[in-house]
Amino acid sequence: MTANSRYKSKAALLHWINMVSFAADDAALYLDTHPQDQEALAYFANYSGLRRQAMEDFAEAFYPLTRDASQNSRQQWDWGAGPLPWEGGC
């Protein structure tokens, strides 16, 4: 998936977040036992950066996925916004 297609829809952006987050999570476990692997460090840095940007984009366009991404400028508490993950669609 290219960076441009991330913005097609909420579902597409969430799918992108799931993909880049998984890549970063899996690389993190590998790095726990191979902390000096330069290739893995670069891989993690790449996906971690893509994830950070996508999480910000998602909060900006839809609703916050973490409490830290909550948009304080809005007039109401937005942490409860969006569907619950276990209801499907997330």
Binding site: D25, L29, Y30, T33, P35, Y63, P85, W86, C90
Partner: protein, 205 residues
């Protein structure tokens, strides 16, 4: 501490209920080789793990297991959402239903409640990591057993993801055990317990 992220680690979108298969899959919520036991095992063992890198690995894998617990809960929930009393009776779900309705509660498929005796925190790093390797294989076998019974691709898909993670965690724990043994007496790994006999600074130098 932990921060919640409002998404599942891997999506669960089940459109067809099946209370019979929900009763099987619930074993990975609160059963002997389930995700709750996995998470509690690693998050309990981390304190006495003498190698900082391995303690960090236990913390990270224990955290991922919490995300897996949430996925299994979502699968069980979506498989039973909106079922009728007739469907409860026809699917053999009535024994669970009478105590929990369609609430998700940690139990094994056979109805045995979740119990901390399903895992160990032995305070001996060789023992604990060997248990962790076995735990990942037991969970993988359970997912294999589930996959033989499940026909719905919407259920198989997230179960296959979870099965694959057991294999990755097994690999990481194998590396952790080797790292630990490399730091012990190669002539006798069991000469002392580095978590206990060496707990005070410089006591095993």
């Amino acid at each position: 501490m932990w921060n919640y992220e409002k998404r599942l680690q891997y999506p669960v979108n089940i459109t067809k209920t099946n209370p019979q298969i929900a009763q099987v899959i619930i074993s990975q919520f609160g059963g002997p080789d389930g995700e709750l036991a996995a998470s509690m095992r690693y998050l309990s063992q981390k304190y006495s793990m003498p190698d900082k890198k391995i303690a960090g690995l236990l913390n990270d894998i224990g955290t991922e297991e919490l995300a897996h617990l949430e996925m299994i809960g979502a699968i069980v929930y979506q498989l039973t959402k909106g079922i009728t009393p007739e469907e409860v009776m026809a699917s053999g779900f009535e024994k669970y239903y009478v105590d929990h309705t369609t609430g998700v509660w940690p139990q094994a498929a056979g109805g045995i409640p979740f119990n901390a005796c399903e895992f160990q925190s032995k305070g001996d790093p060789i023992t604990d990591l060997t248990e962790d390797l076995a735990a990942e294989q037991k969970a993988r076998s359970t997912y294999d057993n589930i996959l033989r019974l499940v026909k719905d691709p919407e259920v198989c898909d997230p179960i296959r993801f979870l099965r694959e993670r057991e294999i990755v965690h097994f690999q990481r724990f194998g590396e952790a055990l080797r790292m630990l043994q490399d730091s012990l007496d190669a002539k006798n790994f069991y000469a002392f317990n580095p978590s206990f006999d060496c707990a005070k600074p410089n006591s095993c130098k």
